[in-house]
């Protein structure tokens, strides 16, 4: 049994238009009456709620069926109803706490959502983003079969998603890899090893902060000369990439070295005691941008490193978030492919439970809010097609919703929040301009080496 695709409901985007119910009633019952829909939206004061089959992992409707008419398909996770076995006793409806299996008078038996064989009509009918068909599970099923190239028991902080990034990325990149992990959280949690043993199942080395991309250049060229196809991969932090390591990174990018450089951005030097980096955002508390009588957090804006990398006209540059794994995987695949031709750079946001001060269970939620508030923009670039947004930047959450989730912004004054809001809006405008090809910088990039 693996993970399954699912229909997700976001009540905040629902306006009660009933389009989902109308198409479901038509598709499943040939009926114009929404009472025959297997998805039911109900008003709850000013907002809307959902009654529909959740395709439960431990389905009570199935356990409660005396006639073996209900069964969860281990392949796709959908709970299927067999009309030739059903005896109409309705005990399934006693088991369901979600109003997901209901007697339908017109049909004369219980009905439930079957996800339209993995292509749900209700989702396609929803124009407001309240219903989504999440297929992310396919990735986990697929990647679950690939070899984990790190040893068990890496010592990351509780709730850190960097371990997730490392393990997922390396599973996909594969074992024919030489890995560089410059100083930072990634070697800090044990990937580079202890007591003469590495924490990886591939050759790994621990360059200086300054020379990661230079050393990988040499490694890659060495193997190339020997006629061996080896992935040269860096798993670096934002400090190592954007500050003291930038010279070698910029050089390798400019030369078009065949390297895959993954920058895990946790907005500071979190491994060594939470110092600020050039990727730390304005207003953020760090141990070197303290908050007190005079200090109010960082006084400069973050360096937009992925944009700078794009301006090198690299073979591939993209930003990604672990809250959007399908997007991350698409980009990882394209980055791996691009690194066979030239320099590929993937910038992945990694909220730091310890340094940003939020509960360890909320990492993915924080990552999601960062994207939904446009604090982090998801896009990709290649020299032929320029920059493209991979996620809609309209309908954003308020930036305050994101900031208040994090302890490092607790001290912010109204002025500082206003500054951050303005910076976010400027970034959105800038990236949108690039995406639409109107910005002169994009024109310049696109007239480059390609």
């Amino acid at each position: 049994m693996g993970a399954y695709s699912t229909i997700a409901f976001k009540p905040e985007h629902c306006n009660g238009c009933n389009a989902c119910m109308t198409v479901c009633a038509t598709a499943k019952a040939g009926s114009a009456d929404i009472i025959d829909s297997r998805i039911q939206i109900v008003a709850d004061g000013d907002s809307f709620e959902l009654a529909m089959c959740r395709q439960c992992g431990d389905p009570k409707c199935v356990s409660n069926c005396p006639a073996a008419a209900l069964d969860k398909d281990a392949g796709n996770g959908v709970i299927a109803w067999d009309g030739s076995k059903c005896v109409n006793c309705l005990l399934c409806t006693v088991g369901c706490a979600f109003g997901g299996i209901v007697y339908n008078a017109a049909a004369g038996h219980v009905v439930k959502c079957d996800t339209c064989d993995g292509d749900p009509a209700c989702v396609k009918a929803c124009e407001h983003g309240a219903l989504k068909y999440l297929t992310t599970a396919n990735i986990y099923n697929e990647v679950g079969d690939l070899e984990d190239l790190f040893v068990p028991g890496l010592a990351g902080c509780q709730g850190c998603n960097t371990e997730l990034i490392m393990r997922h990325a390396m599973r996909r990149i594969g074992p024919d890899t030489v890995l560089a992990t410059p100083p930072g959280c990634i070697p800090g949690m044990g990937s580079v090893g202890y007591n003469g043993l590495t924490g990886t199942k591939v050759p790994v080395f621990h360059p200086l902060l300054t020379n990661t991309a230079s050393m990988l250049t040499g490694v890659k060229r060495h193997y190339k000369r020997q006629g061996r196809e080896v992935n040269a991969v860096a798993l670096a932090g934002d400090g190592g990439a954007s500050d003291v390591g930038f010279q070698s990174l910029s050089g390798a990018a400019e030369r078009g070295e065949q390297i895959l450089f993954l920058c895990v951005d946790n907005e500071g030097y979190m491994n060594t005691g939470m110092q600020r980096s050039s990727c730390t955002p304005f207003g953020a508390w760090t141990s070197t941008t303290p908050v007190g009588e005079r200090g109010h957090g960082k006084t400069q804006d973050a360096k937009n490193l992925p944009v700078i990398m794009m301006m090198h006209n690299c073979e591939y540059v993209a930003t990604a978030s672990t809250a959007f794994m399908e997007d991350l995987y698409d980009k990882l695949d394209r980055a791996i492919a691009a690194s066979k031709r030239g320099f590929a750079y993937l910038h992945i946001y990694s909220p730091c439970t310890t340094g940003w001060r939020f509960p360890s269970a909320e990492n993915i939620e924080v990552a999601r809010k960062a994207v939904e508030a446009n604090f982090v923009l998801l896009w990709e670039f290649n020299p032929r097609e320029g920059l493209q947004l991979t996620r809609d930047v309209d309908h954003a959450l308020s930036i305050a919703d994101y900031l208040k989730a994090l302890g490092k912004y607790r001290h912010l004054s109204a002025d500082q929040i206003e500054h951050i809001q303005a910076t976010v809006e400027k970034n959105v405008g800038f990236i949108k301009g690039l995406a639409e090809g109107r910005h002169p910088a994009m024109a310049q990039a696109m007239s480059g080496r390609a």
């Binding site: 109900v42 709620e49 409660n64 076995k85 209901v102």
Partner: protein
């Protein structure tokens, strides 16, 4: 002697639910399932549909051999447990074999009660609890012209409907003044009674059978009012009682059923009980009750399995809530909760529709409907979670289904 870590006696909902819960926590520990039926696991609840012919006997199995193999479970069928030695942790089977166990789950269910009616033992009659019973009753249907059913509970009422549909003249004799007295009040029962009367089924309510005797080719049933009913088929459906006879001398405390605590543990170390055989805490007061319904068996089985396997996610039994669903002549009756705890806040009944809502303060304690749609599973949760309905009280009473769905979606999203 065979040894097993988990011995489960019984093979219906409580047993299967426990087995799945054990396997969630303990993938390898040896499990043996023993059942007195010589059949793959089935539900007693499906039997009325085997009688009617809607369900083919070979298609009602809840699990098959491949499933037992996949879950690494030894399945012994056609063997009843005849004695349990709790101290030595051994069970004796009707086949003569003995099994040593680490932990034991009693999920033996219930068996029909035969009322002490003079002459009953000497006449031919049917009961309906096993697949064999159902097949026999199904085979008897075409040749039945006159049938008498003793008892107007769910088994009796289903059978009466099936017999009438097969063309028999049917009389139901019930001691209580109304049908399905365990689940519905007089007005609701009246709707059901009217549907039966309209199909020509005779309901003798508040009546007692004083004698049974063989007469002609069939049976003559005499009631205490002196009425004589001739039948070529007699079905005794006067209720069921937990199967506990094999526990005599085991030290396991038995009242009406096996007495269990909130994790389904019996009075003796290493032994649990779940389903119709168990007597567990009721929801509305602390007294231990028999609540022999399928959804309780599923829940209790799961709790017992989790407790046996030491699953840390175990949540104690919240208490039994009487509930059931009943379909008759294409109509739907649903009963969730208590008729008596709290006060009636809405009640309406006509010939075809019935709805009653009972609340205690601002909490739901019971909801009952005939041909009125609401989600029994959602209502059950509202009762168990003791949800405070004060912010939506009027809306809930007015539109229980929609309001409960909104609360559900918001509360356990």
């Amino acid at each position: 002697m065979e040894e097993t870590q988990y011995l489960i006696v019984g093979a219906s909902h409580a047993a299967l639910s426990a087995l799945q819960a054990i396997r969630m926590q303990d993938a390898e520990g040896s499990i043996t399932l023993v059942t007195r039926d010589d059949a793959l696991p089935y539900s007693p609840t499906v039997l009325p549909y085997v009688v009617s012919g809607r369900s083919a006997p070979e298609r009602v199995a809840l699990k098959d051999g491949a499933w037992f193999e996949q879950n690494k479970v030894g399945f012994i069928r056609g063997a009843a447990v005849t004695a349990v030695d709790a101290a030595a942790r051994r069970a004796k089977l009707s086949s003569g074999a003995e099994i040593a166990f680490g932990k034991l789950l009693l999920a033996t269910g219930a068996a029909p009660i035969l009322p002490p009616i003079p002459g009953l033992k000497d006449v031919k009659f049917h009961v309906l609890r096993s697949l064999d019973d159902a097949v026999k009753l199904n085979q008897a249907l075409p040749n039945t012209k006159q049938a008498v059913v003793l008892g107007a509970g769910l088994v009796g009422m289903h059978a009466a409907e099936n017999l009438a549909k097969a063309g028999a003249a049917v009389t139901v004799v019930e001691m209580q003044p109304r049908v399905l007295a365990g689940y519905f009040d007089a007005e609701a029962s009246a709707i059901i009674e009217a549907a039966f009367a309209a199909k020509g089924i005779k309901l003798m309510l508040g009546a007692k059978v004083s004698r049974c005797e063989t007469a002609g080719g069939g049976v003559r049933v005499t009631t205490d009012s002196g009425a004589a009913l001739d039948a070529d088929l007699l079905l005794v459906a006067a209720g069921v009682a937990p199967v506990t006879d094999f526990l005599a001398g085991s030290g396991v405390a038995v009242d009406r059923g096996v007495l269990v605590d909130d994790t389904m543990r019996a009075s003796v170390e290493g032994i649990w009980a779940a389903g119709d055989v168990a007597q567990a805490k009721g929801f509305y007061d602390e007294a231990r009750i028999l609540n022999g319904i399928l959804p309780s068996a599923v829940e209790q089985g799961k709790i017992a399995g989790m407790a046996m396997a030491g699953d840390p996610a175990l949540k104690p039994w919240p208490g039994g809530v009487p509930l059931n669903t009943y379909t008759f002549f294409g109509q739907q009756a649903v009963s969730v909760g208590s008729q008596d705890v709290g006060e009636v806040v809405r009640k309406e009944a006509d010939a075809k529709r019935y709805l009653k809502i009972v609340m205690q303060g601002n909490r739901l304690t019971g909801i009952f409907g005939i041909n009125v749609p609401f989600d029994p599973g959602v209502m059950w949760e509202l009762i168990l979670r003791r949800i405070d309905l004060s912010p939506v009280r009027a809306a809930f009473i007015d539109e229980p289904q929609k309001t409960a769905r909104a609360i559900m979606s918001r509360t356990w999203r």
